[in-house]
């Protein structure tokens, strides 16, 4: 299989920023991935969704980059979720426990829908605590 260079695209939506990941996530992806995160973060989204549906290869260095993103997101109290993972990548997320910190959804629509529901629950709980 030929090498497919890493590429990334950021889509800003009203409440979410979607980072579409393409190609191979390895050491060469670091700068563009971090830039994409910063671009996504600037819109102050409620959630950042990493879309892995176009990722064909990710090595341990790529996993380290995702861990780095997760660490940054947690530092900024930003929710980060993932979608479009192949079964093999899902297994890797479980082996590394990334899926414990980064909920994984089948696709973008499902991910954003669940994220919105979770946000409503969070808001209602906050309101209830306020009334109490």
């Amino acid at each position: 299989m030929p090498a497919v260079p890493f590429d990334v695209n950021v889509r800003q939506q009203p409440r979410a920023a979607i980072i579409d990941l393409h190609g191979e996530i390895n050491a060469g992806a670091e700068a563009r991935l971090n830039d994409a995160y910063e671009q996504a973060d600037r819109g102050d989204p409620e959630v950042i969704l990493l879309n892995f549906s176009q990722v064909i290869y990710m090595n341990s260095t790529g996993i380290a980059l995702i861990v780095g993103l997760l660490a940054r997101a947690r530092k900024h109290k930003r929710r980060i979720i993932a979608c479009g993972l192949s079964q093999h990548f899902r297994d890797i997320f479980e082996i590394t426990r990334l899926s414990d910190f980064m909920p994984v959804f089948n696709d973008e629509v499902g991910a954003l829908s669940k994220a919105e529901q979770a946000e409503h629950v969070h808001v209602r709980q906050s309101e209830a605590r306020g009334k109490a």
């Binding site: 090595n59 341990s60 093999h88 297994d91 910190f101």
Partner: protein, 540 residues
């Protein structure tokens, strides 16, 4: 009919010049104008009138709303006689005023009519002779052009094939009758590096041959200065583009073979993808890039493989895959891929087999439509090609009772991202063994991570220290051994802990071995012949 030949004879009259001029000058003008083409459009009513009216026409009294009548009348035409041959209008005899300045008589009309009826067949014969002469001249011009094109092409193709120990290179080139723009080239780059080019210029004949010559020279110059196949194509495109004739371009694949390691780096400007025959089957060598000469500022993706002993690669042009048989079916890429995959031998046997298959496919009486170019590159099988037996190390004793068969031995240069090569080559072998898709993915990840560790920690990414990989199988398991030059203690021993990593207590890296252990059924480590070895075992 848009054009008729107007014949003007001064035997009866003189031409009426468009503006008054001296008699001598008028005669000279008339002589030069004696035979000329008239652009008579199909919509001009004069055309139908001439076809219907075989006799002499008095232009002074002709009432016809025709632009051509107006024009001829303005030029002084008094009489006109259509020249008809077998009902077809082939010319028009026109006359100006009589020299005596008297009107034409009825005898003149009769004489003109007779002249026209005799002149028409003679004119027709003259036209046919002239047409045949023109066609013969055109045929000769084309034949001469083909000779020139063929000469240019044959002059520029390599006169000899590089003689490289351990490698076989077999070119084949057969131009079509109407010579196309195929070419191939070998460029000795020194230090065991060999450049290989296969290209196809759009168009045929001399224009294609000239562009071929230009592209070849530019590419050779770039190859001498630049080490990267992608950069060579990029440079060639930049230089070629401004001088490229409209609607022409060049597809080109350029590869650099390291004859020591078998590493083949390549970039592709829109050329047909070569086929690589290896232990795991056959693969296309893919790299993205636009043809040369189409647009400036193009980037060319670069890919690479490592040719193991016994591997071969076929470079080819579209003349083979686009050959048609009598039923207008194409030879096709699928057919070629299957043939390359099924044929373990490269070199001349491969070329002979493909030409035989092409002949069977096209049948007798086939006219070759385009140039056919093949370049078969093969790495000779190792002298000890029989399965290598590794002395059992202490760590693999439990498997020593099995019979192990070596499926492949690979050498991967220690260069960033080369773990992908190891992964794909081992993956192709495992795929043929029927490993389930998810387990195959797990094995590939384990091979990639182990190779990456070997290149980085064991060999320090030193190109002269490749990672060696052997792939063996028994009745029940597949074993992949990855060897490097390290001592084996280079990999961080800490088990990765995501909580600690997120808290900044561990580096974000360090997942490789952890992943490997979860991906395969067993991981063993040891040393052999002074090399560090990791063995990955997965049950079949």
């Amino acid at each position: 009919m848009t054009t008729v030949i107007q014949r003007f004879r001064r035997a009866f009259g003189r031409a009426a010049p468009q503006a008054p001029v001296a008699p001598e000058r008028a005669r000279a003008a008339a002589s030069a104008d004696a035979v000329r083409n008239l652009d008579l459009t199909p919509s001009d009513p004069l055309l139908g009138y001439l076809q219907r009216t075989p006799g002499v026409i008095d232009f002074q009294n002709l009432r016809l709303a025709s632009p051509m009548v107006e024009r001829l009348r303005a030029e002084g035409v008094r009489l006109a006689v259509p020249l008809l041959s077998q009902g077809a209008l082939i010319g028009l005899l026109t006359l100006g005023p009589r020299r005596s300045e008297q009107d034409y008589t009825s005898d003149d009309h009769t004489l003109l009519g007779n002249l026209a009826s005799q002149a028409a067949p003679a004119l027709r014969v003259a036209q046919l002779v002239r047409q045949q002469q023109l066609e013969a001249r055109e045929r000769e011009r084309i034949a001469q052009e083909l000779r020139v094109a063929r000469l240019i092409q044959q002059t520029l193709l390599p006169r000899s094939v590089p003689d490289v120990a351990g490698w076989g290179i077999t070119p084949y080139y057969e131009p079509a009758r109407e010579v196309g723009g195929d070419f191939y080239d070998f460029i000795e780059l020194g230090d065991g590096q060999l450049g290989l080019v296969i290209a196809d210029v759009t168009d045929k004949g001399v224009p294609a041959a000239l562009v071929m010559a230009m592209a070849r020279s530019i590419l050779r110059a770039a190859a001498g200065r630049l080490d990267s196949p992608g950069a060579v194509l990029e440079r060639t495109n930049e230089v070629l583009y401004p001088d490229m004739p409209p609607n022409m371009f060049v597809t080109c694949l350029y590869a650099i073979l390291d004859t020591h390691s078998g590493r083949l780096r390549f970039a592709n400007a829109g050329h047909d993808l070569p086929y690589w025959h290896h232990a795991g089957g056959v693969s296309e060598l893919y790299a993205r890039g636009m043809p040369l000469g189409l647009m400036p500022g193009m980037d060319y993706e670069e890919s690479e493989i490592v040719l193991a002993p016994g591997d071969h690669v076929l470079f080819y042009s579209d003349g083979l895959v686009e050959a048609h048989n009598a039923e207008r079916e194409m030879f096709s890429f699928d057919r070629l891929e299957a043939l390359v995959g099924a044929h373990a031998d490269g070199g001349q046997p491969l070329v002979d087999m493909l030409l035989g298959e092409l002949a069977s496919f096209t049948g007798s009486g086939w006219v070759q439509e385009d140039d056919i170019t093949l370049v078969a590159l093969g790495r000779e099988a190792a002298s000890g090609n029989e399965p290598r037996s590794y002395p059992a190390t202490q760590t693999v004793d439990e498997h020593s009772s099995d019979t192990w068969q070596t499926l492949a031995e690979l050498e991967i240069p220690s260069l960033p991202d080369n773990e992908r090569l190891a992964m794909e080559q081992v993956g192709a072998i495992a795929c043929d063994l029927g490993l389930a898709p998810l387990r195959l993915e797990r094995l590939k990840t384990a091979v990639a991570e182990t190779t990456m560790n070997a290149m980085e920690h064991g060999n320090g990414y030193r190109a002269d220290q490749p990672v060696r990989i052997s792939v063996r199988r028994s009745e029940t398991a597949l074993a992949v051994r990855v060897y490097d030059y390290g001592a084996g203690g280079e990999i961080a021993a800490d088990e990765p802990d995501l909580d600690a990593k997120l808290a900044g207590l561990q580096t974000a890296r360090g997942w490789g071995l952890h992943l490997v252990r979860h991906m395969v059924d067993e991981v063993q480590m040891g040393s052999e012949d002074g090399m560090h070895m990791v063995e990955l075992i997965i049950q079949l």
